[in-house]
């Protein structure tokens, strides 16, 4: 009963949020000077220009276009791309999405795993050389832009050493053979995860280690190892659980810089190009779909919370 009410409430909020996001995106695009066709029609005769504008409905007033677009969204019809003729948002996402998702997931798995291990190391060896090293590199990795790392990796491991291909991406369905193409982009994108997860976990663990229940655990005669494994870790993973789903959602949106540097046919590159070309249908469609995924992920986070931390059980149980 309670749970059902909770879910219904969440869904209502999600729909309202999507509506606001879609409207804001639409009007922001409408406010920008020029449109998707202005560059193309420069040298065309007026009659052709008018027909082109009529085809995409760009000749109508803003409010009318807004209602047509929103009505389309309601039916799941995002419309046709203006710059890539004949392509729809669904096609583009289903084609480019998996590429960005594979890269993103590889980056995240590597980054989060290393980040968690380093975070534990820094917390357990607090104040030591190791702690200093982890924190020093975390700050460094967060401060240096991804683009720099991507170019550096490319120069050293592809250029100088020639261990990996300079650019490119495995063709569809080629999971193992093309793996070497994914190595450098994966490393280039995982540093952010390492840095933020290591610091997050370290801070969280130190906080938990200061709690009274850790004294209780020690007073039972448990070894430091046992205290950390059984009492510290689970409690300090709560902030990690909050951030993790957001990272997963980020995966599929792709990274513009890394995709550009390594010529990867992913969503990130495509999305940025669409914005630059003011391709309203693509931008609207991608924004709404990606927002919906984000919102869904946040919802999953809330549910996950209650699994890790029994204090936040939604239905309240029989206490």
């Amino acid at each position: 009963m309670n749970l059902l009410k909770y879910i219904l409430k969440k869904i209502a909020i999600a729909l309202a949020t999507l509506f606001v996001i879609a409207s804001a995106t639409f009007f922001l695009l409408a406010l920008t000077p020029g449109d998707a066709l202005s560059a193309r029609v420069e040298k065309l005769p007026d009659e052709v220009t008018q027909r082109l504008y009529a085809k995409y409905g760009l000749d109508r007033p803003v409010m009318e276009r807004y209602f047509i677009t929103m009505k389309g969204l309601l039916h799941g019809d995002f419309g046709e791309s203006i710059i890539y003729e004949g392509e729809t948002v669904q096609q583009i996402i289903s084609e480019k999405g998996p590429v960005s998702a594979r890269l993103g997931i590889q980056q995240m798995l590597l980054g989060v795993t290393l980040g968690i291990l380093l975070g534990i190391l820094a917390a357990v060896k607090k104040g030591s050389f190791w702690d200093f090293l982890v924190i020093f590199f975390s700050v460094l990795l967060i401060s240096v832009p991804t683009l720099i790392f991507a170019l550096m990796l490319q120069a050293v491991f592809a250029g100088k050493l020639g261990w990996f291909p300079v650019i490119g991406w495995p063709s569809k369905g080629d999971w193992l053979g093309g793996f070497k193409y994914t190595v450098l982009p994966t490393f280039a994108g995982c540093f952010g995860y390492i840095a933020s997860y290591a610091r997050l976990l370290k801070v969280s663990m130190l906080d938990v280690m200061n709690q009274d229940y850790i004294l209780t655990a020690e007073s039972k005669g448990l070894s430091r190892r046992e205290v950390i494994v059984h009492h510290v870790l689970r409690n300090s993973f709560i902030p990690i659980i909050t951030r993790l789903p957001m990272s997963v959602a980020m995966c599929i949106t792709g990274s513009f810089f890394i995709e550009s540097v390594f010529s990867i046919p992913g969503l990130g590159l495509y999305y940025v190009n669409a914005v630059a070309a003011q391709d309203v249908t693509i931008v609207m469609g991608e924004t709404v779909i990606l927002s919906a995924i984000y919102i869904f992920v946040i919802f999953i986070t809330d549910i996950l919370y209650t699994v890790v931390d029994p204090r936040i059980r939604i239905s309240g149980g029989n206490a």
Partner: protein, 336 residues
């Protein structure tokens, strides 16, 4: 064999802070016999909790037990225990319960598991056997439906029940020594009595010794055999409960009694407090720690540390007033 279970000698604990080194405990000595209950009383910040934690070796960075401090448990210095000895000592020989049971229980572990953990660590028994013992313990500490409570998390229990769970954890391996660090401070008055009564009952059944830390003299009167009064990181007076309650020799002890409101007093009378604030333990005052607040402070009290004077069997107080041939007239009440 001596009856002595624990002897603390010249315990000193310091905390390094940005403001300077806090001398939280400045040379505390006391002993505890088997089956005895010793109350450590004093106001906040006098070093009583730190003393308690030192016995369990639970003083962590930035805190440090100063070398030369001796904590003799059955004649062996706890401070020199190796990892293995310490792991066997904690939870088996000695157990501790804290003021805030909610904060002292792991919020993401069922209470049953937290008890079982202590049983499994010190006994070679199966998980099933450990669970049966834990349920039995929950029953013994007065928790209804122990089978069901076993599976619950700390936040699902009331404050009193949580403290009962802590007591169950503490008594899981029949410890010889129980340290109770303000076990009732966070509880309702009605629950306080029940908890103290429970601790006393379990102690009598198992012949354990107790160090009870409190600032509540009412609690002390109910349970303590002996009392040590702490002030500014040292023990200023110690003796049997009746010595401390009826024949207090130290002006601080006396002031503590005066500060307890009495039910039979005329209503509307102002509550008595001890003027001034406890000493700064980063720069402890020279001489007697109480000299800044003492009504009878003399010149010597500000220069010299008062000697410990003995008054009959086990009753001691550190105060210059008793060094004089005759007590000054205005301190004559300290005579009896």
């Amino acid at each position: 064999m001596s009856k002595e279970l624990l002897k603390v000698e010249n315990l000193k604990v310091t905390y390094n802070t940005y403001a300077g080194q806090v001398q939280a405990v400045r040379g505390v000595s006391f002993s505890l016999d088997k089956g005895e209950t010793l109350a450590l009383v004093g106001e906040s910040g006098c070093g009583k909790s730190v003393t308690a934690r030192s016995i369990m070796q639970l003083v962590h960075e930035p805190g440090k037990i100063v070398e030369g401090s001796k904590i003799l448990f059955e004649g062996k210095n706890v401070a020199e225990y190796d990892q293995k000895e310490l792991a066997a000592f904690r939870g088996k020989d000695a157990a501790i319960i804290f003021q805030d049971a909610m904060a002292s229980l792991n919020p993401t572990m069922t209470v049953g598991k937290q008890i079982v953990e202590n049983i499994l660590h010190h006994n070679k028994v199966s998980k099933k056997e450990a669970k049966a013992r834990a349920v039995d313990l929950l029953n013994k500490v007065g928790i209804n439906n122990p089978e069901q409570r076993f599976k619950q998390y700390p936040h699902e229990l009331s404050g009193g029940m949580r403290q009962r769970v802590m007591i169950a954890i503490a008594f899981a391996n029949d410890p010889k020594l129980l340290i109770a660090d303000e076990p009732t401070t966070a509880l309702d008055v009605t629950i306080q009595d029940q908890i103290i009564e429970l601790i006393r009952k379990l102690k009598d059944e198992r012949d354990a010794s107790i160090i009870l830390i409190t600032h509540d003299l009412g609690v002390v009167a109910g349970i303590a055999d002996r009392v040590a009064v702490m002030y500014g990181g040292v023990i200023v007076e110690s003796g049997s409960a009746s010595d401390i309650f009826y024949h207090a020799k130290h002006p601080y002890t006396k002031a503590l009694h005066d500060a307890v409101p009495r039910v039979d007093e005329v209503s509307g009378k102002e509550l008595v407090s001890i003027a001034g604030a406890p000493p700064d333990l980063i720069n402890p005052p020279a001489g007697c720690p109480f000299n800044t607040r003492c009504k009878y402070c003399m010149n010597i009290c500000k220069k010299e540390v008062p000697p410990t004077m003995k008054f009959g069997e086990g009753h001691e107080a550190a105060c210059f007033l008793h060094v004089l041939d005759g007590l000054p007239e205005d301190a004559a009440f300290l005579k009896d």
